[in-house]
Symmetry: D2
Subunit: 140 residues, 4 copies
């Protein structure tokens, strides 16, 4: 597991919550998506909107997302989301997100993403590209 | 006012609602945005994803949006949204949306949109373009 | 696996999509959440907003959600989402969602939910309750 | 116009943006809704989730929302949203939001909200209640 981690605090908004008064589950996947971008920004020093052009890719396409909902988060709760790369493979990687609420683990998120670019032989096709070694190294 | 109208029914989803158990206001603007696209589809016979290419524009950019919230809509309510063009001008137009719930007017929406394309003298610039007469005619 | 299935068609809206022009992943979890409610409605004949009061529960709390993104869905695509119960246990159950686009499997969703109510010995506490046999039977 | 203002910075997320690469308009209404809560928190020292119980109300119901979209905001843009009360009336008030992007006004928002509680003669009915003088005074 890469040792570099990124954390941010977030206050749960009224609009994040459903009629049960707790965060509606798709919002957690939004929180995690944003954290994945911020993790790369923190590790590489490249703002999310520049990541694709900086590395000649299209993006870091999500192919699998999962979350466990252990404890709820309510309107006004200040939660903390800590993210890290759990594994790098040739052209894909796993991101792990831990959301704590009042110090207790409330939601875990798991994403698998692919370093995605254009096929050099056919720019109309997209394909998985090898993740540059210097990118991986930045995550320790 | 153009006489052509488009209506659709919609069942309010759990995720549309906030902790008060009623539709969270930004969702109404989403409903209205979708209705605007569907209104054009119904009037012109051009699917939303083909509208820009069919007319050589970039889109129908929103410049002003407003809604009045008269009565709430709750999880499971079946509402009806009826939309029409309230006014066409040279390159902008107003869309009016009426959302009824159980036959009673619950929310009114008003949008001003611009027929937006590229400047023929400078393709890097976008500009308001005149709305084609045959587009306007289709709305009666 | 329970044999009862529910399917609905859905047209991808502008607001469902991200700057890559494809459905933003949390929206799939919204689509699946709505389908879970509709599946129960179709099997039991109980509207989503009446499910809790009809069965004396608080809800069908989501404890785990997962999705695989195999092919993208774009603005204007008409997709079909078919849902079924993959397994019933004493007080929890798994829901499986298959989203097809142009006839091809595009996204799979998996949810684990809990039949959740109040502790009869302490109404301030919530707990997993046994799923009634007649509920399970309705899913074949 | 009340002199008290509240400002926050916000980085536009991937999921805030639509296929045109700019913030999807309903998201601005979400940003403004959150700012309205934060404005009250900043002025009164009462966290949003405690506002209703602290003042014996149900909430600050939105009855009218409007926004003008002057310039777009894109993924990664750091915008600033400044909010103030434009007018207090007996039981309703107007909130004004100004969103700047790179120092330029990009979007203006206008909300009318009602200080809403239960009818003392019939707790099943909700009604507009007079806004307490000490609340108004806190906004200068």
């Amino acid at each position: 597991m890469a040792s570099f981690t990124f954390s941010r605090q977030l206050t749960i908004a009224w609009g994040d919550c459903d009629p049960a008064g707790i965060v509606f589950n798709p919002r957690f996947f939004e929180f995690f998506d944003t954290n994945a971008w911020m993790l790369f920004d923190a590790a590489l020093g490249v703002a999310p909107q520049n990541l694709a052009s900086r590395f000649g890719i299209i993006g870091i396409a999500l192919v699998d997302a999962r979350a466990n909902f252990l404890k709820p988060a309510k309107f006004g709760d200040v939660v903390e989301i800590t993210s890290r790369i759990a594994a790098f493979r040739r052209s894909s990687f796993d991101v792990e997100h831990r959301l704590t609420n009042g110090g207790e683990l409330a939601t875990e998120g798991f994403e698998t993403r692919v370093w995605t670019g254009r096929d050099p032989n056919d720019p109309d096709k997209i394909m998985a590209l090898p993740i540059p070694k210097d990118v991986i190294d930045k995550f320790g």
